[in-house]
């Protein structure tokens, strides 16, 4: 591949912004300068679908209505641990309006006796057992209540500490082959090792394994903090619940899905029903939110498809709030033991972490990589255990594991600072080697006015104030399998197509911004058609990968399409294409200011009715993805919080939060702020 050298803006604006040289493929467009020199990128652009959303025009998956469509409801277990002896569906079947019933059964090879019984073992309340499709949701619900499930109860355990005890009821007596659902980028733990209900430990991540010698580290320490911290289970609760509408036509399976990952749902459905990927189309136009638990087809996806197959009709299957709480994912809890040692001068000498968490019947209750990488301590080890309980499965949630891990570590660092007699903010200046977070601390502290902080015990009122700081980090990930098509139509229209979905963060808007910037047009001139797997494959909305993965190919595709259009103009003007550009909707020439042609007119020069270019995410030009450094392990955030505590009632109130986050090149300031505000609000509530 032919390459050329180019300089990229690199660093922290207002601090150390400079340039860095990279080799890029010769055909790629010139590197964009900093945002100040751009017209649309980095500006406060209103979401292109804002009006549709606030006026109710936007149609979400739950709004889909198709001719002949049936409504479905899942049958779920109401016991936490049991063997199903029989299921009687006769009454449900004969209820007028019921069209299809599907029960989940163990797969058994022909001719073999099924030693596991006909139905899967029940392991938690809310476990899907089957589903019914009927002419209305009310009929479907009534029919569900007419199904009689006969169980043989088994002892159960739902509490993490009881589950760890000897003699506790065993949740899985078979090894678990299922792997942890860490969103796009979680670690994959092996669920086969461990005893009783405890699995693990996991001791390493993609940042490596244990470092140094912990014992020696703690010997060197003058001060040691040893603590156990706990975090609770959270359920996700996006406004729109999980669900799909499946329209299984003779030629193709059409799936409308409320999903963070159209492509993954497509692949799952294709594999479950043994269909070629080209015959499954997953579509998600508007997405009512998701925080990590909507990456797969779940059990409701295949259920709707089975019911559609049996009834020969489209099937709507959206879950309700209760189902969301009990069965559709949660952020696991944690019990984290931390031991941290430091010398008198504050230098860290050892960090030991041991965690237990329960993701119910699933794995993935670790506490992430924060303790491993936030502060470069030479001696470090972690042991992260999963505890199985008879409860609904956990699922990825905004920085899976790291949220729990950051809470524990940052509490312990505060306690250490106190023991050392140091201010918690300056102590972080001392032990944190990240340049990004240093600047975040400085700017945040100024906005927050950290200097108001009083020593403990200063407040004499019933309501006391606390001022605190906490940090976190999340690496930069990119999905290279990210492609976009940009089309220029001969009526002047410009269209973007990709399977990438807009989870609600404003992906549609930033794609339009990128293309508008590249083509010298306005955001409103661009049509964004995404969330459809008939278009080029885009990334899943998880792990903070979307913007960094999908915007570079979007720009490249627009650049290629523009080049082709300008070639036609160059031919007409009998000039060289390299001197042509588009600005404010006009094609112009560097050489001859007289030459002007509106973009729309230029598109009429096309021989075919459209120019179509598809581009895919290039690799990072051998530079950015280093374990440490500005664009990877060194990222993160610093947040300051002012909190009042009523010492009579115990009520805690968060009065103010200042959040400083790093994000690479900001594409849309308003949407970026929304992301951070949303994160803070979710964290507080």
């Amino acid at each position: 591949m032919d390459t050329r050298k180019e300089k990229f803006p690199y660093g922290i604006p207002g601090h150390n912004l400079s340039e860095i040289e990279r080799e890029i493929p010769i055909e790629e467009p010139p590197v964009w300068p900093v945002n100040d020199k751009l017209k649309i990128i980095g500006k406060r652009v209103t979401r292109i679908d804002a009006l549709d959303k606030v006026t109710g025009k936007a149609k979400y998956t739950s709004d889909v209505r198709l001719p002949g469509m049936l409504f479905a409801k899942m049958l779920r277990s109401n016991l936490p641990h049991a063997v199903i002896t029989s299921i009687d569906i006769s009454k449900a079947e004969s209820l007028p309006g019921v069209h299809a019933i599907h029960l989940i059964e163990n797969v058994q090879k022909e001719g073999e006796e099924n030693k596991n019984g006909k139905y899967p073992m029940v392991k938690y309340v809310g476990q899907p057992l089957g589903g019914i499709a009927a002419e209305s949701l009310e009929i479907a619900k009534d029919a569900i209540s007419l199904i009689k499930v006969n169980y043989e109860k088994k002892p159960f355990v739902i509490d993490i500490e009881s589950a760890m005890e000897m003699g506790a009821p065993i949740v899985f007596d078979e090894p678990i082959t299922q792997q942890e659902d860490g969103g796009d980028v979680g670690e994959v733990h092996d669920g086969s090792k461990g005893e009783g209900n405890v699995r693990g430990p996991s001791t390493s991540s993609f940042f490596g394994g244990p470092r140094g010698d912990l014992e020696a580290g703690f010997k060197e320490a003058d001060v040691i903090v040893e603590r156990t911290y706990r975090t609770q289970v959270h359920t996700h609760m996006p406004l729109e619940t999980h669900g799909v509408v499946v329209d299984w036509r003779p030629d193709m399976m059409m799936v409308y899905a409320s999903t963070q990952n159209t492509n993954a749902v497509r692949n799952e459905m294709a594999s479950i029903f043994n269909l070629p990927k080209s015959k499954v189309r997953v579509f998600c136009d508007f997405m009512g939110g998701g925080f990590g638990a909507k990456h797969s087809a779940g059990s409701f996806g295949p259920m709707a498809a089975n019911l559609a197959k049996k009834s020969g009709r489209p099937v709507w299957l959206m879950l309700d709030r209760q189902e969301e709480h009990i069965a559709e994912g949660n952020r696991p809890n944690s019990i984290q033991y931390l031991k941290i040692g430091a010398r008198k001068d504050g230098t860290l000498t050892g960090i030991e972490q041991r965690s237990h968490g329960t993701a119910g019947v699933a794995l993935g209750a670790g506490v992430g990589r924060i303790a491993q990488i936030l502060y470069p301590c030479p001696n470090f080890a972690t042991e992260q255990y999963d505890v199985l309980t008879n409860a609904g499965p956990g699922a990825a949630w905004r920085a899976p594991g790291n949220v729990q891990g950051a809470f524990g570590l940052e509490q312990a660092i505060d306690e250490l600072a106190e023991k050392l007699g140091m201010d918690p903010l300056s102590y972080r200046d001392l032990i944190d080697k990240s340049e990004v977070r240093k600047v975040e601390r400085q700017r945040g502290a100024k906005l927050f006015d950290w200097s108001r902080r009083q020593p403990a015990g200063s407040g004499k009122d019933v309501v006391k104030k606390g001022l605190g700081v906490g940090q976190s980090t999340w690496p930069r990930f990119v999905t290279l399998d990210s492609s976009v098509e940009v089309k220029i139509h001969n009526d002047g229209g410009v269209e973007i197509r990709s399977s990438v979905q807009d989870i609600g963060t404003g992906t549609k808007t930033i794609l339009a911004q990128v293309v508008a910037e590249e083509l010298g047009l306005k955001v409103k001139d661009i049509t964004v058609n995404i969330g459809d797997t008939f278009f080029p494959v885009g990334p899943g909305s998880g792990g903070s990968v979307v913007t960094g993965s999908i915007t570079p190919p979007t720009r490249n595709a627009a650049f290629e399409a523009k080049k082709e259009l300008l070639k036609l103009v160059a031919k007409k003007w009998e000039t060289d294409v390299v001197e042509l550009f588009i600005e404010d909707g006009q094609v112009g020439s560097n050489k001859n200011a007289e030459l002007k042609m509106p973009f729309k007119e230029a598109t009429k020069l096309m021989r075919t009715s459209q120019i179509s270019k598809i581009a895919s995410r290039s690799d990072d030009y051998g530079g950015f993805q280093q374990p440490w450094g500005l664009a990877y392990g060194d990222l993160g955030s610093v947040q300051f919080a002012e909190v009042s505590v009523n010492t009579d009632t115990g009520f805690v109130k968060v009065d103010r939060v200042v959040a400083a986050h790093s994000c690479g090149r900001p594409l849309n300031i308003g949407q970026l702020e929304s992301q951070i505000n949303g994160g803070v609000i979710q964290g507080v509530s």
Binding site: N78, D142, V462, G650
Partner: protein
Amino acid sequence: MNKFSWYEATSIEDALQQVNSTVSEELYQPTNKASVFKSGGIDMFDWIKEGLLKPQKIINIRNIPGLDIISYDPKRGMSIGSNVTLADIASNPEVKDHYLALHQAVNHAATPQLRNMSTLGGNIAQRNRCWYFRSADHDCFRKGGDRCSARQSETGENENHAIIDNGSCVSVHASSIATALMAFNASVVIINVEGEKKKVTMDDFFVTAGKDIAMENILQAKEIITEIILPAPTKNTKSTYIKQVARESYDWSLGDVAVVFEVSGNTCRSASIVLGAAAPVPYRSMEAQRAIENKTINSENALAAAEAAMKIARPLAKNGYKVPLFVSTIKQAILEIS
């Protein structure tokens, strides 16, 4: 949700002819043949959606003319029709001027959307808050069951439950507005199918769980609330209301306090102190009233009254925090009067 028929009542008489049961009776002993009143429908439809209430007929009393009027007379006091929405009470200037604690209570109840829908009659007649009571999957005395899930020693989740009068059912009343109404010595006007009208004080309207586990108020089938009457305040009447919640934007009360005093100078001449979310029905604290009457309103006396109120508290396994919460809130409310 079951299928039901819908009846649009045109008058009080018409409604009373149609009705044959109450939501309370039907929840305690379901017949699935009940005809019941619906006003704003907020509480009623919760029960229907959960599948616990399957009425045969819903009688919509929301559009009966004349039941949505607020009037105030300096001598006779205020009358609030049973169909007046919480939003209308919240924005009524006379409520704010003469019944400050009610104004505060209504503005802290539910959400703006819910206040637009909910009526005052429905608010005081809504059923108690208890997740077991309101879940089809759990056993509960109030649904005619034979155990109280909230009291179970290991598994009972009772952090929101009652600390006073909690010998049988330990749920708390849902209306935080009733706390203020009772403190103002409001009365409820009820008409029955024979056309007889009675006026009962809030204190008599509510029924403790010890007396009747099936209902929290005296309403019988074929009775309708038409208005709520608040006595006229004097120029020495002062009031305040405080509600403690886990989430400030909107939430159910963890403990709320309404205080209405007749004062002379800085002395409390007569006191009305009512606690919400403390007991299965709004609870008038005679102990606190006695402790503060004819005393100067100061920090020390306010605390003494608050502690007197909590002497009889018997917290459950998970709601011990409510005792200091009430001590602090009662004290703060009394001090806000001065």
